[in-house]
């Protein structure tokens, strides 16, 4: 079975999330295993948010902002 990593993305609503939104309007595709968490600002991200994502089973976490 192919490795299909679960990825959690913490995205800033003003840039990365808007980019993802635009990707949607442009019908660009990305894997459904990327789960996005919209934040008002990625400055709010604390290390524990990343740890909780890993604890919940994420294989990778990224912050985009």
């Amino acid at each position: 079975m192919a490795y299909d990593p679960k990825i959690v993305a913490f995205c800033c609503t003003y840039c990365a999330y808007s980019a993802a939104d635009l990707a949607g309007s442009m019908r660009l595709q990305y894997p459904p295993t990327v789960r996005m968490v919209k934040l008002l600002c990625t400055g709010k991200v604390e290390p524990i948010h990343l740890m909780k994502a890993f604890e919940a089973g994420a294989d990778a976490v990224f912050v985009a902002g």
Binding site: E46, P47, I48, M51, K52, E55
Partner: protein, 224 residues
């Protein structure tokens, strides 16, 4: 405030291997400010432990708690029923807090998660430096508010010594010469004469271990 740093994860984990119920307990005062043992650090350590045990296939319950101060017994009121339910408590307080916890819950194993490092000040975000060695005989009035016991690696009460080198110390060239700093400070204050005064040898008898202080207002109560 008291400044500490977290021990390596493997060391902390080695204290609790084999336990099934673990409480990670933080302290909301000094070590919280120096980002070593407050609520956020408790969350991170607990999360790390949960993942490490899960990876090993062990079923271990790791809970979190942070009290305002672990060096003051009244703050334990909120956790006095909870602590006895755990096999081990990982205290993220300074050494004083760990010992207070261990004294209050004698039948529980209390282990430290931090190395208590010094009494110091915040120099900027994320930077702390040592300022006081709690010598019980403060000299700061005569040294322009710079402590030679702490800042001078040799702890000289009269200086500078022959090892001063362009404002740095011969012991460690990255360290400032305390007595050069004192000279400059006294010069700024127009008090350079003070550096000519010879201080007698420091009375280390007052620096007994363990020290204890009873406030005058409480002396009778202590005796009773």
């Amino acid at each position: 405030m008291i400044v500490g740093t977290r021990k390596p994860f493997e060391e902390i984990k080695s204290y609790v291997n084999g336990c099934e119920k673990i409480l990670v307990m933080g302290c909301g005062t000094c070590v919280s400010v120096c980002m070593a043992g407050g609520e956020k650090e408790v969350q991170l350590l607990a999360s790390q432990l949960r993942m490490a045990f899960e990876k090993e296939g062990k079923k271990v319950q790791v809970d979190e708690e942070t009290i305002q101060r672990q060096c003051d017994r009244e703050y334990f009121e909120t956790v006095k029923e909870k602590i006895p339910q755990y096999d081990v408590v990982i205290s993220m307080a300074c050494g004083a807090g760990v010992q207070m916890t261990a004294e209050l819950f004698e039948d529980r194993v209390i282990v430290p998660a931090l190395n208590t490092t010094f009494i110091g000040v915040a120099e900027g975000e994320g930077v702390w430096s040592e300022k006081c060695r709690a010598c019980a005989n403060c000299l700061l009035a005569e040294t322009g508010g710079i402590c030679p016991i702490t800042i001078c690696p040799k702890g000289l009460v009269n200086g500078p010594c022959g090892g001063t080198n362009h404002g740095k110390c011969e012991v460690d060239k990255d360290k400032d010469c305390a007595w050069t700093l004192i000279y400059q400070r006294l010069k700024t204050q127009g008090r350079l004469d003070a550096i000519r005064e010879i201080h007698p040898a420091k009375d280390y008898r007052v620096q007994t271990t363990p020290s204890k202080i009873v406030h005058r207002a409480y002396e009778e109560k202590e005796e009773a």
